[in-house]
């Protein structure tokens, strides 16, 4: 580059301002380029030697040869200098294309027609779990579940005062009897009809006693709470849903058949007649 600069200066010193400005900008561009390249190489990896770099010394050497022969640099020779031959090995694939070749080969040579949708979807799916602050990340969901279980099953531990190893890990991963109880709770939570620990068969008196005892205990708790002025949760009212009465086969669909007589109530008659039709007079 410097040789060119010198030559141009020598050829036209008076208009140095004009001739200098493009070369100066070229120089600037080179400096900037070099700066960028240094920065890039510091961050990533050294750039391969580019074609332009290889050609620079060639041009320079030509320049020097010419300057040795004569000071005048002809127009035609400059035109010759601009000819650049760029040859690249086009037949071999780039290295990064080879990496995913196997999976793509399988997909392309399978019997299905290739779809035009991009194949980058699985990569995206892999990237998402890394974001820990995401609300739906697997790590957070796991923690949520553990907390939920801790809250719902911690009472199992409290009931057993003899167990000295009451700590958090025991609550999260209960063992022994507690494990079965926790599992049972989870099953009920998921919609299991009855607890596996509920005894299915026992003498009636026995069962009655248990129910009675439970009622008494509940009554006592409520009474004591009321006396000491504690407000408890509302009592669950059991109220019967009136179901449709089952009628025998072949019997009448309405009314009440008793003593060889079908008795229809007012309501039955209304239901048979349907809503009253308002008759309008003719106009």
């Amino acid at each position: 580059m410097s040789t060119i600069l010198r030559k141009r200066k020598r050829r036209a010193p008076p208009e140095s301002n004009i001739s200098n400005s493009p070369s100066a900008s070229e120089d600037d561009a080179d400096v900037v380029k070099a700066l960028f390249q240094r920065h890039f190489e510091a961050r990533f990896k050294p750039l391969p030697t580019t074609i332009t770099k290889q050609q620079e010394p060639e041009m320079n050497s030509e320049d020097e040869d010419e300057s040795a022969e004569s000071d005048w640099s002809g127009v035609s020779s400059e035109a010759e200098q601009t000819v650049t031959i760029i040859s690249s090995d086009t037949t071999t694939p780039q290295t990064d294309t080879l990496l995913s070749d196997k999976s793509e080969l399988k997909a392309y040579l399978s019997s299905k027609p290739p779809s035009s949708t991009p194949k980058s979807l699985p990569e995206k799916a892999k990237a998402t779990p890394k974001a820990a602050d995401d609300e739906d990340s697997t790590e957070n969901i796991k923690n949520d579940l553990a907390l939920q279980r801790l809250l719902t099953e911690s009472h199992l531990l409290r009931k057993d005062p003899t167990n000295s190893t009451n700590h958090i890990s025991e609550t999260i991963n209960p063992s022994g009897k507690n494990r079965h109880k926790a599992l049972d709770l989870r099953l009920q939570n998921l919609g299991s009809k009855a607890s596996v620990f509920k005894q299915a068969k026992m003498p009636m008196a026995h069962r009655k006693g248990i129910v009675q005892k439970a009622q008494d205990r509940e009554g006592k708790r409520r009474r004591e709470a009321k006396e000491s002025g504690i407000v408890l949760e509302k009592e669950k009212r059991k109220f019967r849903v009136q179901e449709k009465r089952e009628r025998g086969v072949g019997g009448p669909g309405v009314g009440k058949f008793k003593g060889g007589m079908l008795t229809l109530s007012r309501r039955d008659i209304d239901s048979i007649q349907g809503p009253p039709v308002r008759k309008k007079g003719r106009r």
Partner: protein
């Protein structure tokens, strides 16, 4: 059905475009009558073996169609039936696979059967599952102008996606084969599964060809050295890589298939058939348009794989140059599906050379014969030489799924 049967048959002449007329007849339900089929030919007048084979295939996937030949085979009357597909009990075996044997003298590739069958398949009553076997299945490109089975799978089947036909489409190539000696026969085996039937294909508007973003291809060598693949790929890459860096060509090297060749001493003898190699290239644009090229080694041999690779790459460049949203190979499929669509205007941009090709012009004339709508043509403008073709669908759709 009675009103369809009472319609007088449409009359055509000659063996050319016979398949496309049979397909249109089946889709629209109009009976046809073709006369003068190679009537001037001295050596082999009448229907050729591949045409007869296609008629057999048509009969097996439809129910109630009537086919009548004249004594010499120079005249044909076809009264179409309902497209039933591979229903068990109508020729298909217990697995629902319909076996179609192609006779030994067949000179056409299996794509000759596959492409029209794919056109019928969306309008079938039940899924189509046909296995092509026999001593005449050629999976490669042929000198008679058929494309290879890879091109059908990677360039023509994806077209159906635009019509909303996406599921359960498969072409399984279990055995590859090039044309046998004299260009006749092959020992291939191909299974077409077309499991997505629709009432009506969607209306499409393809007006932006986009720019080529990737090139994919399959190089196949059957019964010859796998080095042929590498040489074809190398040569094709040399042409294509400067244009599109994302060029990947996969190679598949298989042994040749066997066909039974019984002789007196050994009635169970077999012989190898259909060796050779070839290349199928598909360029995909940014808007999903696919251009394809196909070259296979000639039957007589003597052409180095490098030449095949370069020839195929050049052919691909030529097809891309023709422009439009569909190549000449796929245009009949696309146009027919558009004409069968709902009664709505679909538009497609075609290159001038594609629109002016003999097949497409004849297709337009045949559409008119069959009472399908005419085409509206206008210049695409915006600096391109292409022509936008507007087609109003007939709304015939799938008769077997009228109630669905």
């Amino acid at each position: 059905m009675a009103d369809l049967n009472s319609q007088p048959p449409l009359r055509f002449q000659g063996h050319r475009h016979l398949i496309q007329r049979l397909v249109l007849s089946t889709l629209t339900g109009r009976p046809i009558r073709v006369t003068n089929i190679r009537s001037t030919s001295v050596e082999n007048p009448g229907l050729a073996s591949h045409e007869v084979s296609f008629l057999r295939l048509l009969e097996s996937v439809t129910n109630g169609s009537q086919i009548e030949f004249s004594y010499t085979g120079t005249a044909l009357a076809y009264r179409p039936g309902l497209i039933t597909g591979s229903a068990t009990g109508y020729g298909a075996d217990a697995g629902g696979v319909l076996k179609h044997e192609i006779p030994a003298g067949c000179t056409r590739g299996v794509s000759y059967f596959l492409i029209p069958l794919c056109l019928l398949a969306p309008f079938s009553k039940s899924p189509i599952n046909v296995q092509f076997t026999g001593p005449g299945v050629i999976t490669s490109a042929t000198p008679t102008g058929d494309v290879s089975v890879d091109t059908v799978r990677t360039a023509i089947l994806p077209l159906y996606e635009q019509f909303g036909i996406t599921n359960k489409l498969e072409i399984r190539t279990t055995q590859r084969s090039n044309p046998g000696p004299g260009g006749k026969g092959g020992a291939g085996e191909v299974q077409l599964i077309f499991g997505h039937q629709v009432r009506l294909p969607k209306t499409v508007h393809l007006l932006n060809p986009g720019r080529i973003k990737s090139i994919r291809g399959v190089a196949y060598a059957t019964g010859v050295a796998g080095a042929n693949n590498a040489r074809m790929i190398e040569a094709a890459r040399g042409v294509l890589n400067p244009f599109v860096a994302d060029t990947r060509i996969f190679s598949e090297n298989t042994s040749a298939g066997f066909i039974p060749a019984p002789d007196k001493s050994n009635p169970r003898a077999k012989r190898k058939l259909g060796i050779g190699f070839g290349l199928s290239l598909v360029a995909e644009s940014s808007t999903g348009v696919r251009y394809s090229a196909d070259v296979a080694s000639p039957v007589t041999g003597g052409v180095p794989p490098e030449d095949i690779g370069v020839q195929c790459a050049n052919q691909l460049l030529e097809v891309v140059e023709q422009g439009g949203c569909v190549s000449a190979v796929a245009a009949p499929t696309l146009l027919t599906l558009m004409a069968m669509g709902s009664e709505d205007v679909g538009r497609i941009q075609l290159g001038r050379d594609v629109l002016g090709s003999e097949n497409v012009l004849q297709l337009a004339r045949d559409f008119k014969e069959f009472g399908l709508s005419g085409w509206g043509l206008r210049d695409a403008g915006e600096g391109s030489d292409d022509i936008v073709v507007s087609i109003v669908g007939k709304g015939v759709g799938n008769v077997g799924r009228k109630t669905a």
